[in-house]
C-alpha cells in the first residue's frame, strides 16, 4: 500500500468510465477515438499505482507497451477515418453499419 492509493485507483476508474461513456454516446469517430485514449489513460494510472505499491516495474512496462499500441492504433485508425470520409463524405458513426447483419 502507498499513500493515497485509493484516490489514485478512484481516479483511474472515473477516467475509464468517462472515456467509455463518451465512446458509447458520441457519434463523431475522432471524438470516439479520443475517448478510447482517455480509457487507456485511466488504465495506465491503475497499472502505475499497483506497480508503485508492489515495488515492481511490470506495470510501468505494461503502460510503455500500451503507449506503443496506442500509437500504432492512432496511425491506422486515422487513416481509416480519412478513407471513410473520402468514400462517404462523413465520419458520423451512426451512418456506418457495414458489419451489421
Amino acid at each position: 500500500m502507498i499513500e493515497n492509493q485509493s484516490i489514485y485507483l478512484a481516479l483511474s476508474v472515473v477516467l475509464f468510465i468517462i472515456g467509455a461513456a463518451g465512446a458509447v454516446c458520441r457519434r463523431n469517430a475522432i471524438v470516439v477515438f479520443m475517448c478510447i485514449e482517455i480509457m487507456l489513460g485511466g488504465v495506465g494510472i491503475a497499472f502505475v499505482t499497483f506497480s508503485r505499491a508492489n515495488q515492481s516495474l511490470d506495470g510501468i512496462f505494461m503502460v510503455l507497451f500500451i503507449m506503443a499500441v496506442a500509437a500504432a492504433e492512432a496511425a491506422v485508425g486515422l487513416a481509416i477515418f480519412v478513407l471513410m470520409y473520402r468514400k462517404h463524405g462523413t465520419i458520423d458513426l451512426d451512418k456506418f453499419n457495414l458489419l451489421k447483419w
Partner: protein
C-alpha cells in the same frame, strides 16, 4: 502536499476529460484532450514514474494529438458540429451497463485492501542506480522479446496507414 497536487491534477484530468466529450467542436475536444494528457503525466510524476510521464507528454500530447489535429484539418467537419445527439435504446442500455461497471470497479478497487508479493525495485535501489538505468536494465533483459514485437507492430502500423490512405487508381 502530494495529496493537494493529486486532488488538483486529478480534478483537472476529470474535468478536461468531460469537456472532451461535451465540447461541440472536434478541435476543442482535441485541445481539451491535450490538457487531460498533461494532467495524467503529472499524476505519473506523483507516482514516481518520471520516465513514463516524459513519454506521456512526447508520445500522447505530442505525436498522437498531432495526428488527430491533422486528421481534423483534413476532414472538414463543420457540418457535424450541429448534429443532434440521437437517443437510442442501445445507447441507454450501454450507459446503464457502464454505471453498473463503475459501481463494481469502485467496490472491488476500494472496498478491499489489495496486496501482492513485493518486487525487487525498492527505493534504495532506485536511489543508488537511477530510475532510467533500472528501467532499461529490465527492458533490455526480461522484456526484450515484447520490445521487439512492439517494434514490429509499429512498423506494421505505419505501413498499414500508408497503404490505407493511399489513393486507389
Amino acid at each position: 502536499m502530494e495529496l493537494v497536487f493529486l486532488l488538483i491534477c486529478g480534478g483537472m484530468a476529470v474535468i478536461s476529460s468531460l469537456l472532451v466529450i461535451f465540447a461541440r467542436s472536434t478541435l476543442h475536444s482535441a485541445l481539451w484532450m491535450v490538457l487531460s494528457f498533461f494532467m495524467v503525466a503529472i499524476i505519473y510524476v506523483l507516482l514516481h514514474a518520471e520516465f513514463l510521464a516524459m513519454l506521456q507528454v512526447i508520445v500522447y500530447a505530442g505525436a498522437i494529438m498531432m495526428f488527430v489535429v491533422y486528421a481534423i484539418m483534413m476532414l472538414n467537419l463543420r457540418q457535424e458540429r450541429d448534429a443532434k445527439v440521437s437517443v437510442r435504446v442501445s445507447k441507454v442500455v450501454g450507459v446503464a451497463a457502464l454505471v453498473v461497471l463503475f459501481l463494481e470497479l469502485l467496490l472491488v478497487g476500494l472496498g478491499h485492501s489489495l496486496t501482492a508479493m513485493q518486487g525487487p525495485i525498492t527505493d534504495s535501489l532506485v536511489a543508488t542506480h537511477g530510475r532510467v538505468a533500472v528501467i532499461s536494465n529490465f527492458l533490455f533483459a526480461d522484456y526484450l522479446l515484447p520490445f521487439e514485437v512492439v517494434s514490429i507492430l509499429l512498423t506494421a502500423g505505419v505501413v498499414g496507414a500508408v497503404v490505407l490512405a493511399k489513393r486507389v487508381k
